[in-house]
Amino acid sequence: MSDTARTSTSDPAGVPALDPTSGAPSVVLEEVTRVYPGKVVALAGVTLTIEPGTFVAVTGPSGCGKTTLLHLVAGIDTPTTGRVLVGGTDLATLHDPSRYRRDQVGLVFQLHQLLPRLSARANVELPMFGTGRSSGERRHRADELLALVDLAGREDRLPVQLSGGERQRVAIARALANSPHLLLADEPTGSLDSVATNRVLDMFREVQQHGATVIMVTHEHDVAARSDRVVEMCDGRVVGETAV
């Protein structure tokens, strides 16, 4: 199985275990504002509809609210006013957002956020706790995903023993652990060179083609241009749209 996964890195059909039969969700923001304590307006009224199964890039200058938007869609943060709907469900009505994240969402953070004392493999296994997989299955799946991001043979390394780009790829493997239908990535190529950036973007495309909605935050225009649609933000508002 890991052999298939390894060869799959050049073959889009090889993304493991993304279930193509269940649908990628739509993501809808209705008049969303987010005001942080101290009257910091991170989002000043965002209305946005992202079609199921699209690969969308969100761009804009630093501090314009991109990360905030992603956190709201992940259910990590809640809007001050307005609604966030994923697959038609208002996230505010979710009894347990952590289950929604576990079962639907893959998250790649701006800072890769690996646990330093755990191996690459164990970091990738983390989202799989509580999904009913045995520890053997978790391990197998983690190795498969690490092979997919070209880290076969480095499963046992600690984060400090990996380069910045390698760590980012571990974080991507972790985001894919539960075959999410919604992949949210915050500046995933920020620390990568152009070769690695291309690899990551290819991977996101594969994930999207296998039935996921992908939202990627980036401030790099050439990276954004690799998506289907670019949403441009400024000062907490959507200020422009480009279909690629």
């Binding site: 952590s98 289950r99 520890s135």
Partner: protein
């Protein structure tokens, strides 16, 4: 990786913190177990005195601070003897004396020789002493072995150089480590003529010892009857105080330990706030996140309990050998001491982790992730 493996990895990667928590639990468990085993040793060796005479019940003076300071006079003994249902009685005077460093509180029992057989004293070698002898003694076989004496040897005690007339057995370790003298000899040396400490009572065939004891309790309010070793603790005020002090110290040790556990866990929680935020962000429920924190503490608490019991063995071994306590303090390890250790550790962990766990459960993943 299993959940347990994850917990173990965390424990091992935070060695200083883990060791701190183990030490806090171990010290509390050490305190609690050592107090429990030494005090129950004291209690049971004190209580053994009432089972020396093979009686249905024992009578002592009510409300004395320590059973050996009980005084009962001859008239009272006669009244007990006259109580309906009582078949026979023997009043004994119990005194203690320092013989040497190994026997700092040697027990001396004054008893009329005519009553020996009836109250379960078997003479193994030699003969009984004469009723009015002032320099004759019988040694329990353990005492004879400890003192390295045999029939015919001289034994200096009770104000005289006594000839050992016999070696006896009572089938009771406490009685077998003592010496018996004619009752008047002990009364004379201790200047308490006509006084005894305990009265052992046998009830008539067919009579209920509970009923007869109740009758004695009722007729002689200045006395109290003891039918079992556990009733002994109620008659002896020193033991009551001792138990209260042990229980109080146990509660204190648990509370102090719980504060240290709570503090350690809180520090660990602050240090790992980002981690908890991350785990919640990748889909861990509150329950699982908190479960990890509690799992870590429970494992460390268990290790602390084991270490604490081990240390307690060492400490009691040392205490028992202290010159001031040699021959007095006998630690008594029982299953209940180990349950006490586990309960202590568990109580500390549960009390100590209550606040950190509440903090962890209330942590919002967003705040946790932005925590520096």
């Amino acid at each position: 990786m299993t959940f347990g493996g994850l917990v173990a990895r965390t424990i091992l990667s935070k060695k200083a913190r883990s060791a701190g928590l183990v030490a806090a639990v171990a010290i509390a468990v050490l305190t609690v177990v050592t107090l429990a085993v030494t005090s129950s040793g004291l209690e049971s060796s004190a209580a053994q005195i009432i089972s020396v005479g093979k009686a249905d019940f024992t009578v002592v003076q009510k409300g004395v601070s320590d059973t050996l300071s009980s005084t009962i006079d001859e008239q009272e003994v006669a009244r007990i003897e006259a109580t309906p249902g009582v078949a026979s009685t023997v009043g004994v005077l119990v005194a203690t004396e320092r013989i040497n460093a190994d026997n700092p509180v040697f027990i001396e029992i004054g008893i009329p020789p005519s009553k020996l057989a009836a109250f379960g004293v078997t003479i193994l070698r030699g003969t009984a002493f004469a009723p009015d002898a002032t320099n004759q003694v019988m040694l329990g076989w353990r005492a004879a072995a400890n003192l390295n004496l045999k029939v015919g040897d001289k034994f200096k005690a009770n104000g005289a150089v006594n000839t050992v007339t016999g070696i006896y057995s009572t089938g009771n370790a406490f009685g077998d480590a003592a010496a018996m003298f004619p009752l008047p000899a002990v009364q004379g040396y201790n200047r308490v003529p006509g006084i005894v400490t305990l009265v052992f009572v046998k009830v008539a065939p067919g009579a209920s010892s509970a009923t007869v004891a109740a009758r004695v309790d009722h007729d002689m309010p200045e006395l109290t009857t003891i039918r079992t070793a556990s009733q002994f603790g109620r008659a002896d005020r020193n033991l009551i105080y001792l138990k209260a002090a042990v229980n109080g110290s146990t509660v204190l040790a648990v509370l102090i330990g719980a504060v240290i556990v709570g503090n350690t866990m809180l520090l660990s929680l602050f240090e790992r706030t980002r981690e908890f935020g991350l785990l919640r962000a990748v889909g861990w429920t509150r329950r699982r996140t908190v479960g990890m924190l509690v799992g870590e503490s429970l494992i460390l608490g268990f290790v602390g309990a084991v270490v604490g019991v081990g240390l307690s063995f060492l400490v009691t071994a040392v205490i028992e050998r202290l010159p001031a306590l040699r021959g007095i303090l006998h630690a008594q390890y029982s299953a209940s001491a180990f349950w006490r250790a586990l309960l202590t550790a568990l109580a500390m962990i549960l009390i100590g982790s209550a606040y950190p766990v509440a903090r962890a459960a209330l942590l919002s993943p967003l705040e946790a992730l932005s925590h520096e």
